[in-house]
């Protein structure tokens, strides 16, 4: 079985390439891990440990990296944005649903646009179906993001990421901006996706409770390096 995601010797640096190595700061060093299809994999560590950078690189949002990244059987190319099928296959949910949804677009527009662009028919019914899947009532389509609670907004962001039936869903602190009970609702939703659709999830979080609750395996990161891989018995001790 091929891995859903394979990361091998990933290093990421930020800064000005024209000034040579002096102007550059390495933020991720030699990180390797694989995620099997249907698995929920966590990346955990304190602020600044490089976990979000790893995730953004897999999403094609950092193009300045070295090593190898494969999503299914397709390899990402350093220096290039992701293209072709990968743009459907890899989707990301960001930490703050306030800033990741267009403030002047209604939910129907936010969710309908990616389908319309791809010339997919039956947009309205697909959007309704998706809202139901993420636990939102059908009449929410006419709302603007500011008319939704934080938890509802994050549900819309998750629906947006699920639209194109991605093989790999990347989640960057998806519940950090929410209160504990809204967080519980989103974690239940993610557990449902995992169970009912076999979606492969990579979850970044600083919260050991969240990673311990949702993930099948996780990598602990510190200072840009992967320290250990935690299996279920190690994860069950997190709180």
């Amino acid at each position: 079985m091929t891995a859903a995601l394979a990361v091998e010797g990933l290093s990421v640096s930020f800064g000005d390439r024209s000034r040579g190595d002096a102007g550059r700061r390495a933020v991720v060093h030699d990180v390797s891990f694989t995620v099997t299809a249907g698995e929920t994999f966590g990346l955990i560590g304190p602020s600044g440990c490089g976990k979000t950078t790893v995730l953004r690189t897999i999403a094609g949002l950092n193009t300045d990296w070295q090593g190898a990244i494969c999503v299914g059987d397709i390899a990402l190319v350093p220096g290039r944005k992701i293209e072709g099928r990968l743009r459907d296959d890899v989707q990301m949910v960001f930490q703050d649903p306030h800033s990741s949804l267009h403030p002047r677009h209604r939910v129907e527009h936010i969710l309908g646009e990616p389908l319309a662009i791809r010339g997919i028919s039956g947009v309205a019914s697909k959007v309704t179906e998706l809202l139901e899947q993420v636990g939102l009532a059908a009449h929410m389509v006419s709302r603007f993001p500011h008319q939704l609670s934080g938890g509802q907004r994050q549900r819309v962001a998750i629906a947006r990421a699920l639209l194109l039936k991605p093989k790999l869903l990347l989640l960057d602190e998806p519940t950090s901006a929410l209160d504990v009970s809204a967080q519980a609702g989103i974690l239940n939703l993610l557990a449902d996706l995992k169970r009912d659709h076999g979606t492969t999830l990579v979850l970044v979080s600083h919260d050991p409770g969240v990673v311990g609750h949702l993930c099948d395996r996780a990598a602990r990161m510190a200072k840009g390096r992967l320290e250990t891989i935690l299996d279920r018995s190690a994860l069950s001790r997190l709180s």
Binding site: P46, S47, G48, G135, L136, A137, Q147, L148, S149, G150, G151, Q152, R155, L178, D179, V180, S181, A182, Q183, A184, G185, L187, N188, A191, H206, D207, P208, G209, V210, G212, H213, L214, R232, L235, S236, R237, L238, S239
Partner: protein
């Protein structure tokens, strides 16, 4: 019992809406002495507004009524603006969620820590500096001189929040209100900052009002817990009794926290996500 630091009886806060006045905090009553009291609830439960009402920081269109709202025996409902200014920062201090927004980005940290002394005392510049350095080392900075001369952007989130705590505690207020003071920090730092806040307030004999959405987290540091929902206090209990809480809402908040042992189970949700 001696007069508590803070006494609130029948506090109601309402905002004008299309349907007339809409009450967002209804008949809230509690007291705070030299102790740590946690006010816990979901977003929109009115916990932050209650904290702001104590500081007199509600927006002008908010209408506040209370049978009693007194601090150290002084009636806050009838306080003139000048008296509010004398009280705030000096006797009651407030720490907000994110040091990125609550510290002035263009002013050195030391100056901001000293500001309360500048406004409320007649200490000399040298005395203020000495006090600020002592306070910065008290909140855990190894090199207070360097932090004193730093700008907020040179500090990490946890360091920024430590600097905020130093600034708020330097004039020894008798009551500190911490409104989600650790929510913007990562998990390990949250615990560190709460330990620091709890330790310092006990050491200084102050009252601390910990406003938070995370019941399990604040319960470890609080003496008493008030649970708010939709503008009212629905449950109040000693932190030590939380394990045996019987109120369904308190239980739901308590059990909503995920951990390694809840893997594979559904977490209880109290928010009805279908309708706002």
């Amino acid at each position: 019992m001696a007069e508590p630091l803070l006494r609130i009886e029948d506090l109601t806060i309402s905002f004008p809406s299309r349907q007339g006045q809409g009450a967002v905090v209804r008949s809230v009553s509690f007291e705070v002495g030299a102790e740590i009291v946690a006010v816990v609830g979901e977003s929109g439960s009115g916990k932050s507004l209650t904290g702001r009402a104590i500081m007199g920081l509600l927006p002008p269109r908010a209408e506040t009524t209370a049978k009693t709202l007194s601090f150290e025996g002084r009636d806050l409902t009838r306080l003139a603006a000048a008296h509010w200014r004398a009280l705030r920062g000096s006797a009651i201090a407030l720490i907000l969620q994110d040091p990125k927004y609550s510290l002035n980005p263009s002013m050195r940290v030391g100056r901001q820590v000293e500001e309360t002394l500048l406004l409320h005392t007649s200490l000399s510049a040298r005395e203020r500096r000495e006090k600020a350095l002592a306070m910065l080392s008290r909140v855990g900075f190894d090199d207070p001189q360097r932090v004193h001369a730093s700008y907020p952007r040179e500090l990490s989130g946890g360091m920024g929040q430590r600097a905020m705590i130093a600034a708020m505690l330097i004039n020894k207020p008798s009551l500190l209100i911490a409104d989600e003071a650790t929510s913007a920090l990562d998990h390990d730092l949250q615990v560190q900052i709460l330990e620091l806040l709890g330790g310092l307030t006990r050491e200084l004999g102050m009252g601390l009002l910990l406003i938070s959405h995370d019941l399990q987290q604040v319960a470890r540091f609080a003496d008493r817990v008030l649970v708010m929902r939709q503008g009212t206090i629905v449950d109040r209990l000693a932190a030590s009794e939380l394990a045996d809480a019987t109120h369904p809402y308190t239980l739901a908040l308590w059990n909503a926290r995920p951990s390694g042992v809840t893997y594979g189970t559904r977490l209880p949700t109290v928010a009805d996500e279908m309708e706002p």
